[in-house]
């Protein structure tokens, strides 16, 4: 298959503004967007810069915008998304570009840290495991399955308009703890996500849910956090 990549490139050493560069490349019919990028780098232009590691949709390195939508380059088949035989590849939005397709995720990680992203226990720990129902575990696994790729953060228009907004990934992470019966910091965490930077800024636009490559559904997590907050305010739990 003959594919044309139009890639938004930016090298801070030499460029004053981003610009598109075009590459034509022959790839197998089953090739992924990442396969094509790697082939360009290997054969045509070693300066092309992008992050990648696992190439199986689990490490979260290679989220980028492909034909106007956030995707993992590694688990996206070219044939499924090419417009004609053309792909337009751009870095994630809502974060500064370091070089080409690599963005500075510092604010994303700061927000991850802001929700106190670790289990906090009260009292003695059991000798073995805490008893938790499999139903509860499976419910939480959906949110814990987040790979922190940043696709939702890029797609969220609220993040775009308010850089202080915690954003869908951090909020989904917060729900993963708030919903966990082993965690003892529910009140503190609901305080953090209930701040003016948190859940009430969400306009339920569902962009995050649509682009999530892992089916995490951050909008659902945000709604569950809203529900928990309201119940607490009403003295119901």
């Amino acid at each position: 298959m003959d594919v044309t990549y139009r890639i938004l490139r930016f090298n801070p050493d030499t460029d004053s503004a981003p610009h598109y560069e075009t590459y034509r490349i022959e790839v197998p019919d089953s090739a992924t967007v990442l396969d094509g990028l790697q082939a360009i780098k290997d054969v045509q232009d070693g300066t092309l810069t992008f992050r990648r590691s696992c190439r199986q949709g689990i490490c979260g390195s290679c989220a980028m915008r492909v034909n106007d939508r956030e995707r993992l380059a590694c688990n996206t088949q070219i044939s499924h998304v090419a417009d004609g035989n053309e792909l337009r590849v751009e870095p994630l939005a809502n974060m500064a570009v370091i070089k080409d397709l690599a963005v500075d995720m510092t604010p994303f990680w700061q927000k991850f840290n802001a929700i106190v992203p670790y289990t906090i226990h009260a009292g003695e720990r059991p000798e073995r495991e805490y008893l938790v129902s499999n139903e509860k575990v499976r419910h939480l696994q959906q949110f814990a399955g987040c790979i922190q790729c940043g696709a939702c953060y890029s797609a969220c228009p609220i993040v775009g308009s308010d850089p202080e907004y915690l954003g869908p990934a951090a909020l989904a992470k917060a729900y993963r703890f708030v919903g966990d019966p082993r965690d003892a910091a529910k009140k503190e965490r609901l305080g953090i996500v209930g701040s003016e930077r948190g859940i009430w800024r969400c306009h339920t636009i569902f962009n995050c849910t649509e682009v999530c490559p892992k089916g995490v559904d951050p909008t659902y997590a945000i709604e569950l956090l809203k529900k928990a907050t309201i119940r607490r305010k009403l003295g119901l739990g």
Binding site: D42, T49, I58, T119, P126, E129, N134
Partner: protein, 558 residues
């Protein structure tokens, strides 16, 4: 100069477990350095689970015996005993830290069947166990407040007076080199599977940087000939399909629909150890009972609901990368490189022969896996020996001072990079990498002979020369992944040579090292570890005894 009491290189499970354990002390300054953000580490791609004798009726002795037998009796039994005894508490530690293990109907951690195990003993988080553990460890790392240098590429160890004094590293973001002084360095850099590029389950980052660094610093690499081929990998891109599929009842069938494992491991069938199953598959393929270089995994009888509960990622991977929905269709698979049983030789506390240098996880060889690792023992290995290395390093750094950092090492690395950036010629880094991978898969693969390995070694030596004619297109400073790719190729070609030389010397078959010209295990001559030291013209091999405590070698049948 940047300076920390303990510097941990690599932020996968071993590195982060070491960091979290070290941070508990509270009085020691710790930092973690990794060429990627910790959550991008390849531990996250582990799927099936983690072994521990958790259930009534299971014992650490049984876990130990299975592991020793799985290792083809060349694993060190003192190390295996420690791992198996400490396993349950490590799983409880993870559970308390928040890992969402799948549960039984009564809310306890559930276990599934896995290869080479005599009972169900693999705790799991669907088929994304590595991901779950990696994120749990990162949460704990954030909680510990340990400094993390992410997207820093460590170039070399700095040694002075026969002691490790720190590292020289490049901040990938700026391209600047920095010496980092440390009393203790713990290498936790993971595997080197990209040496088998095109035929490996490993991530792009798994280039064995730590193994190469230690080797350059005079530390021996042990048992590098034992390269695990996982039986179920996808042909298109080598992605792993978990052994948990077979643990949950999946079948392996050939082109005739026959469950061929009955002819190779009649008792354990699909749950034989990986070396045995991979050889069985390759034999089926070689003898014409495969299709297009593959045999098949059959999950259809498990049903959609069960697959979605316990193997959801497997379905996603099969659909994305093989175009097959395993709920309804046979999934073509073949053996692919998966794991390095060998690595930096350490003792039970992660210490190497170089004072101040420790290693843990896949980059290390302690050795708990011997000639063949059992599935779901690697996550366990990373955690147990990551923690133990940190505990030992804590004691060490309280007793020693920083010494002198050898500035010459910075100069040496600056020159190395200048030389790489100045390369000229018609070769391409990416194409040499693929040639290396194809050579190793074909010549030092599932089946080996002296002739093939000699050819393979000759090609690797050629590639080592040719890389000097593979220019780096990117001459810039910022985020130069073209430069790091060149450096990674350099370290992989060095290790490829060690693998081939170690394998050529071992004139027997044991575990994953199977020679058609020496098909029998030879305990009289070869019940010993290979130690490869860096010599003038290539690796210099020595041998070391295997520690046997409880279980004498016996015939290995499944």
């Amino acid at each position: 100069m940047l300076r920390h009491d303990i510097l941990i290189v690599g932020a996968g499970l071993a590195g982060m477990r070491a960091a979290v354990a070290a941070a508990q002390d509270g009085s020691v300054d710790i930092a973690v350095i990794s060429k990627v953000h910790p959550l991008r580490s390849h531990s996250g791609a582990a799927e099936g689970g983690i072994n521990a004798a958790l259930t009534e009726g299971d014992t650490w002795e049984s876990h130990m015996y299975d592991t020793v037998k799985g290792s083809d009796f060349v694993g060190d039994q003192d190390a295996i005993e420690i791992m198996c005894r400490e396993a349950p508490d490590e799983v409880w530690w993870l559970e308390h830290a928040g890992t969402l293990f799948n549960r039984t109907a009564t809310g306890e951690v559930e276990v599934r069947a896995f290869g080479g195990a005599s009972v169900k003993r693999t705790a799991f988080v669907a088929d994304m166990t590595g991901h779950a553990l990696l994120h749990t460890l990162y949460e704990q790392l954030v909680a510990s407040g340990v400094k993390v240098y992410d997207e820093w590429y460590v170039l070399s160890l700095a040694t002075d007076g026969g002691t490790c004094r720190g590292v020289v590293a490049m901040d990938i973001r700026t391209g600047e080199l920095h010496p980092i002084q440390a009393k203790a360095v713990i290498l936790a850099t993971g595997g080197n599977g990209r040496i088998y590029s095109g035929r490996t389950t490993n991530a792009w980052i798994n280039t064995g940087d730590g193994m190469a660094m230690a080797y350059w610093a005079g530390v021996p690499l042990a048992d590098m000939e034992y390269v695990q081929f996982h039986p179920t990998t996808l042909k298109s891109n080598g992605v792993l399909i978990t052994e948990g599929v077979r643990g949950e009842g999946g079948y392996l069938v050939n082109a005739q629909g026959e469950r061929f494992m009955a002819r190779y491991a009649p008792t354990k069938m699909e749950l034989g150890p990986r070396d045995v199953v991979s050889r069985a598959e390759q034999t089926e393929i070689n003898e014409g009972r495969g299709v297009d270089g593959c045999v098949f995994l059959d999950l259809r009888h498990l049903g959609e609901a069960y697959i979605m509960e316990r193997l959801p990622q497997t379905r996603e991977l099969a659909i994305n990368f093989a175009g097959v929905d395993p709920v309804h269709e046979l999934l073509p698979i073949r053996p692919g490189q998966h794991y390095a049983m060998g690595g930096i030789r350490t003792n039970l506390d992660g210490e190497t022969v170089l004072p101040g240098l420790y290693a843990a996880g896949e980059c290390a060889c302690v050795s708990v896996h011997g000639a063949n690792r059992l599935g779901a023992n690697s996550l366990l290995d990373t955690l147990i020996f990551g923690r133990r290395s940190a505990e030992k390093a804590i004691q060490y750094v309280k007793e020693v001072d920083f010494g002198t950092f050898p500035e010459s090492e910075v100069t040496r690395q600056e020159e190395r990079i200048r030389r790489v950036l100045a390369r000229q010629g018609n070769e391409r880094i990416g194409l040499l990498r693929e040639e290396m991978g194809a050579t190793m898969a074909e010549k030092v693969g599932v089946f080996r002979t002296e002739a093939w390995m000699r050819e393979g070694l000759a090609t690797i030596k050629e590639l080592q020369e040719r890389q000097h004619r593979a220019p780096v297109d990117d001459k810039g400073k910022v985020f130069n992944t073209d430069l790091t790719a060149a450096l990674e190729l350099e370290v992989m070609l060095e290790q490829a040579e060690v693998i081939a030389v170690s394998a050529l010397a071992r004139t027997e078959s044991r575990g994953a090292h199977y020679r058609l010209d020496y098909p029998e295990r030879d305990d009289a001559n070869w019940l010993k570890h290979t130690l490869a030291y860096r010599g003038e013209g290539g690796p210099r091999l020595e041998y070391a005894d295997v520690t046997i405590t409880r279980y004498q070698p016996e015939e290995r049948k499944y």
